[in-house]
Symmetry: C2
């Protein structure tokens, strides 16, 4: 694999194209190369080339057919990686040799042709990343020589499918948690492979998460990082005797406590005998106490302890409080605890009571508000259940269910030919939801009086755009009786040109990850709430213009064979 | 990211370690670096270092707690990537700078320490990749300085979790399909990211698939590649007039047919008017006929057509047969058809009847046996249902459900500390299935008289191994009353040393992918069938020795706090 791209960073200083546009950096994952595709893309490309059809100008739509997770919306992700991919699309010498070995009957001229291919003749239009999106509306429209665009199909779908799915999942977790909670993505270890982990971290941040545990993703994308310690850390200690360097300097540097271990132990005993706690817990676990003390010595100004290795209420929380109070003596403020098992509603409430009692008993201002993080197989449903029961959790750490999209592990994006050489094309199916919507199209979001989006509409490329204040008929693409007049108060064109190729069209700028995250959060807020609710959400309407409707059904009749009853 | 490893191939010619062992190549995905981990691994490592505990010799077990997919077995995958990872484990200067920026309060000495870390002092024992494995039995045992091994936790789990899950899924698909069917992995576009696609292709092959559509995986791992064309290819043609180069040389090179298009059309008309077919179909779709003809001109000796773009029985199959018969005239043998929608049992049976009728009608020997491939959202259940209904499918192309492990998108592998400085450690939990099994252990598979594996047993590291013909008590680790005497006819030690570090232990060789695939297929066959069946499989027994049992329960009592009833 020595021909694989060797860097993931921007090719600094390089400028590409006739008009001096900067070449976007290579895809984040160096494995994303033109060979990361299905073999049939190459066999088809050869057949196009052999038939002299390879330069035919084709238009493909990339879209999904059904919203994921039983919801009525999705969030679009993956665009930036697609643009990076085509911007650097080029076969290496070794790629060609490999293809020759796989397709030994193909003519030499074909491999010469492949060698010369790039994406200068391709144009990509897309909805901005982080947008709330709906079925059937193209997320991307890709135009170019049919043989080249065909080669983009698999990598584009691969890059968009999971990214959109996991961004949507993150957004759903944000909606169910509410704005005030901190959401931490902890999924790397359970993700479907290393890249699943890295792209999940990026997408979860875009979908509204606050931070990740994934160091590589933190570095690649500038996402805030979070993490403290695990159960193994706790059980790696036998007892406080193990701690040899017991000194801790006060927060203000004014003096040093020579024996922080004893300070912790004296606090533990004070708690044990305080009125509020007497008789509520016995001897706490000494491994755990040692581990907490040791962690506090290492990170006195960011002490957060995992309190469920042995027993939350009888050991973890009292041990944490003893260390936190000792830190407080030296001017440090502990951050909080993490719960990773058991009844999180109950345990968080008990811990909160304990913290309040400590604040009262020892007069440590603010101790009652110490942060409680919960993890352990959380998902939309468990968070919803926790909300209903009542809990005292401030931050959710979510892993498996978030990054593997456990509730629905795939989004069925497709890539359909809708026009070739200006001839609209349709793909029929016995399943009407699988019939493609032909023609090169424009797509608009129409907003109503109250500022909510009302409907998305697709029109033919040459139709005049919907106008503010002008009534327009929006038709269901396949169902004759479903249609409605809309008078938009605001009209937004959805597809922007992100890759003009060598055409003279203006390219929209790829926004920063932070901006895509802002867009996502703004879109989530802007939708009418009944489209977004977890239970029985109202479908958002997706429509076609009257003219496009007629055209779809004309083509359909034209292509479908006439049956014969016998 | 300029510090990211820049090649995925072997570092040719390099030899490492004092004893001249060759360094395994870098991980397949260049993104797998020591930074691909959770932040808390670094914060813990710092706390260990700060407490002077970082060199403490720790033993961790990597295992899963529950079989996936409602089954009673799993297949282990991901080992080779783990070994590649530790063999090349080293922080780059840029990695250290980034970590400094993330952990600004940590002392300089710590970063010096990190800079120097490698895995020479680590030893890794593992079950061979491709083995059938069971819950609680360590898939891997990792020994070494606690601070270093801690850093391996997240990448190891990440590399093993999905690999084992998808290998298991592939094996399940192989079992339900039966040995005679060809299984094709078509998952790249629906996989969770590019790497999900690539590692899925590798693992599905290991789990018993025959080929993949993923060109990059074919190249990286030498997996056979398969693929033909899509619906877009079909609808990109308007009609046969488009085909300009109509000549096709006979298979034996003896002459050239100047107008293959007309030959196809004459065959179509012959079929239409043949006794067997008259009145069964009318005019077939001309786009489709053109596309098939064009594809056959490009690949006359491997013609396989997707026949469901318009209508399988009225257009796709007749068009395919016309092209196949024209090819047959020139000495070529068509491969077959692919069905990608509709009732696959019915359509495959209808297609088979059509092929037999063609064979009979036109005397083309073997035409009835032409291969039928089915795709379209297949999974274990749909294949099982097809088997029950009866079908004529020879090959299954499986994508989404296979590679995303849709039925269960994550395997919960964990990495638990079981011993430190020769002191066994246990992790308790209110949920008994989450209690870890302490001690550095050895693991054996005991075989019975009929050659089937009977039970897996874990013992303490220093216990004598079970002996052939000698009775041994196998105890359930947590349930007092569950135990059984076994007299093994064959004893197999499960954990082999795959990474001896700089110790003088002998390293087992990492087998080739093909060998791991053979092992997997052999293991699947060797298990007692009731453990492997889809419905209500019998659990395979996983046990501990009497001595280990007593030790677990002694430690448990020792660590659990005594409750107080009030």
């Amino acid at each position: 694999m020595d021909s694989m791209p060797t860097a993931t960073g921007p090719r600094a200083g390089e400028a590409g194209g006739e008009r001096g546009r900067a070449v976007p950096p290579r895809p984040t994952n160096p494995m994303v190369t033109p060979l990361l595709t299905d073999l049939y893309q190459f066999t088809m490309t050869y057949a196009y080339w052999k038939a002299g059809k390879h330069q035919d100008r084709a238009v493909f739509d990339l879209y999904f057919r059904k919203n994921p997770f039983g919801g009525e919306y999705a969030v679009f992700g993956g665009l930036e990686e697609c643009i990076r991919f085509i911007a650097n699309f080029k076969f290496e010498v070794d790629d060609i040799s490999f293809l020759r070995s796989v397709m030994p009957t193909c003519e030499d001229g074909f491999f010469e042709y492949l060698k010369a291919i790039d994406c200068k003749d391709v144009e990509v239009y897309a909805i901005p990343e982080g947008s709330v999106v709906f079925p059937k509306i193209p997320l991307m429209r890709i135009e170019g020589p049919v043989a080249v665009v065909q080669l983009l199909e698999t990598p584009f779908i691969n890059l968009v499918n999971y990214a959109s799915l996991v961004t949507t999942n993150a957004a759903r977790h944000r909606l169910v948690s509410g704005k005030s909670k901190t959401l931490l993505e902890f999924g790397l270890r359970r993700a479907q492979g290393p890249d699943g982990g890295i792209s999940a971290s990026r997408c979860c941040y875009m979908g509204g998460f606050d931070a990740t545990s994934n160091v590589a993703a933190g570095r690649l994308f500038g996402i805030p990082l979070r993490g403290t310690h695990s159960h193994a850390f706790v059980s790696s200690y036998m007892g406080p005797d193990e701690i040899t360097d017991k000194a801790l300097r006060r927060c203000d540097g004014s003096s040093t406590c020579q024996d922080f271990v004893s300070l912790v132990q004296s606090w533990l005993s004070k708690i044990q005998w305080a009125n509020s706690f007497v008789g509520t817990f016995g001897e706490t676990n000494q491994s755990e106490l040692a581990a907490f003390t040791s962690y506090a010595l290492a990170f006195p100004d960011s002490f957060l302890a995992l309190v469920d290795t042995y027993d939350v209420t009888k050991s973890g929380v009292p041990n944490f409080c003893a260390v936190a109070l000792a830190l407080s003596d030296l001017g440090y403020k502990a951050i909080g605890i993490r719960l990773d098992s058991g009844d999180l509603a109950y345990l968080s409430t008990e811990a909160r009571k304990f913290f309040h009692a400590i604040e009262e008993e020892f007069g440590v201002l603010g101790f009652g508000k110490i942060s409680i993080t919960a993890s352990n197989d959380l998902n939309e449903e468990t968070i919803d259940a926790l909300n209903k029961q009542g809990h005292e959790i401030d931050a959710f750490g979510i892993g498996t269910y978030l990054v593997t999209c456990y509730a629905q592990a795939a989004l069925g994006c497709v890539f359909k030919l809708v026009e070739i050489n200006n001839q609209p094309r349709i793909k029929l199916s016995e399943d009407v939801t699988k019939v493609s919507i032909p023609c090169k199209k424009r797509c608009y979001r129409l907003y109503g009086r109250e500022g909510y989006p009302l409907v998305d509409i697709m029109t033919g490329d040459n139709e005049p755009p919907p106008k503010v204040g002008e009534r327009i008929l929006c038709r269901h693409p396949f169902s004759e009786s479903k249609r409605a007049y809309v008078v938009p108060q605001h009209v937004e064109e959805l597809l922007k040109c992100y890759w003009p190729g060598s055409s003279d069209k203006t390219s929209a700028e790829l926004p920063s990850l932070k901006k895509s995250r802002d867009r996502c959060l703004q879109h989530l807020e802007q939708m009418r709430p009944d489209h977004m609710r977890r239970l029985n959400p109202t479908p958002y309407k997706v429509s076609v213009s009257a003219k496009l409707y007629d055209y779809i059904h004309f083509l359909w009749l034209n292509e479908a064979p006439v049956g014969e009853l016998q």
